[in-house]
């Protein structure tokens, strides 16, 4: 979040409320829970870290919403570093995989039933995102983000199919032995 706020200041100095509006527009329905307070907290941290400076409009009482924030040279460097950084969130599949393994080993739960329950949950999430995508105007900046979430959930469903195949085969082998 800090990096994104910094990067949104790179084009020109801006008020906190202006940054909030731009971030929300980029995030579409995912930005609904983003409140202005979070932006001001982030800006205050960035200011303390020397990455932004706040200029108060002359003659007005000091309040965060009056301030115009601008990048410092250090802030500008950090934005450049962030844009060039190659990082990627890791999906955490190991926990669910271990859950299935433990369920099969202990016979405390049926792995195939666990996969089915998980698939229902993923489908419910997909429904929420899909409904948001359908409600989003065509010109929305959040389209690619929603598409990405949908594709990820579809990948999760593929993986659950693979899990089902693997564990139903294992069940047959155990049952036949």
């Amino acid at each position: 979040m800090q990096d994104a706020v910094l990067a949104f200041l790179a084009k020109e100095p801006a008020h906190g409320y202006h940054l909030h509006t731009r971030l929300r527009r980029a995030l579409g329905p995912l930005g609904e829970s983003l409140n202005r307070g979070q932006i001001y907290v982030t800006l205050a941290r960035l200011e303390r870290a020397g990455l932004v400076v706040a200029e108060r409009a002359a003659g007005l009482p000091e309040r965060p919403e009056r301030k115009v924030y601008a990048l410092t040279p250090a802030g500008r460097e950090r934005v450049a570093a962030w844009l060039n950084e190659v990082g990627w969130p890791k999906p955490d599949l190991a926990e669910f995989h271990l859950k299935l393994t433990a369920a099969a080993a202990t016979r405390l739960a049926d792995p195939v039933a666990l996969v089915a329950a998980q698939r229902r949950e993923v489908m419910r999430r997909l429904r929420e995102v899909q409904q948001a995508a359908l409600a989003e105007p065509a010109e929305s900046g959040a389209g690619p983000l929603l598409e990405g979430i949908v594709l990820r959930l579809q990948a999760d469903l593929r993986w659950l199919d693979a899990c089902e195949r693997a564990w139903s085969g294992a069940g047959d082998a155990a049952g036949g032995g």
Binding site: M1, Q2, L27, P29, L30, G31, E32, S33, L34, Q38, V41, T42, A116, R119, R120, M123, R124, R125, L126, R127, E128, V129, Q130, Q131, A132, A133, L134, L145, E147, I149, V150, L153, Q154, L157
Partner: protein, 244 residues
């Protein structure tokens, strides 16, 4: 069950015989409530299209019963069954099945004319429906001049022209790209909001995810039946915005 638009009991459909017998639909019970959007998912060959054909009276079951709006249809004469298909059921297919020689408006009018509508009334309905699917400006176009997504929207308008009790859609987005798929899903969402009962057979999770209820099929049988609509929507913010 009151409010069930479609009801099936012990539905069976076999193809072939002896060694090559295929149990396409194997003892299925199903009730589709009025206003419900039901998605049927499963791998190809699981029997989902055959099920849809049985529900809409396009094929007759080997055994079991099908009721549409409280009327048993599997025992009807060919003629009476054709009447049910025309008046009570709207079909949408993967490959559109439009008449290539007729304009978009004429394609939409056709089932209304066959059901005994006056040409004037059929035209009125066709124009209203084409407007509803966003194609009022293409009414005179032949299907060959329309994109795949536009053709499917014409096909949806045609399915609605006799105000059917239920719309049955077989892989409606199977031939469409992402943008056209979203267009079709938007129309389905509007139909759903207007209380139209919908049964959609699909292998696309995106399409299935828009339904109220999802049944999964394997080898002619239902293996899962899930209500997708959340009791209370959780909102999407939590999906992406971790605490900083």
């Amino acid at each position: 069950m009151p409010g069930a638009v479609i009801r099936a009991r012990g539905l069976v459909k076999h193809f072939g015989r002896g060694q090559s017998l295929v149990r396409a639909v194997d003892e299925i019970d199903l009730e589709v409530a009025e206003g419900e959007t039901l998605a049927v998912m499963g791998p190809s060959g699981c029997g989902k299209s055959t099920l849809l054909h049985l529900l809409g009276g396009l094929e007759r079951p080997t055994a079991g019963e099908v009721w549409v709006a409280g009327r048993r249809i599997d025992t009807l004469s060919e003629r009476a069954l054709a009447g049910v298909r025309r008046r009570s059921v709207g079909f949408v297919f993967q490959s559109f099945h439009l008449v290539e020689e007729l304009s978009a408006a004429e394609n939409v009018e056709l089932p209304a004319l066959l059901a005994g509508c006056s040409p004037r009334e059929a035209r009125r309905r066709a124009m209203l429906l084409l407007e509803r699917v966003g194609l009022a400006g293409r009414a005179r176009h032949l299907p060959s001049r329309l994109s795949g997504g536009q053709r499917q929207r014409v096909a949806i308008a045609r399915a609605l022209v006799n105000e059917p009790l239920v719309v049955l859609a077989d892989e409606p987005t199977g031939n469409l790209d992402t943008a056209a798929t979203l267009e079709v899903l938007r129309i389905f969402a509007e139909l759903r909001a207007a209380g139209q009962t919908l049964v959609i057979v699909t292998h696309d999770e995106r399409v299935a995810a828009t339904a109220d209820r999802l049944v999964s099929m394997r080898d002619g049988m239902f293996v899962d039946d899930t209500r997708l609509a959340a009791a209370r929507p959780r909102g999407l913010g939590g999906l992406l915005w971790p605490e900083d």
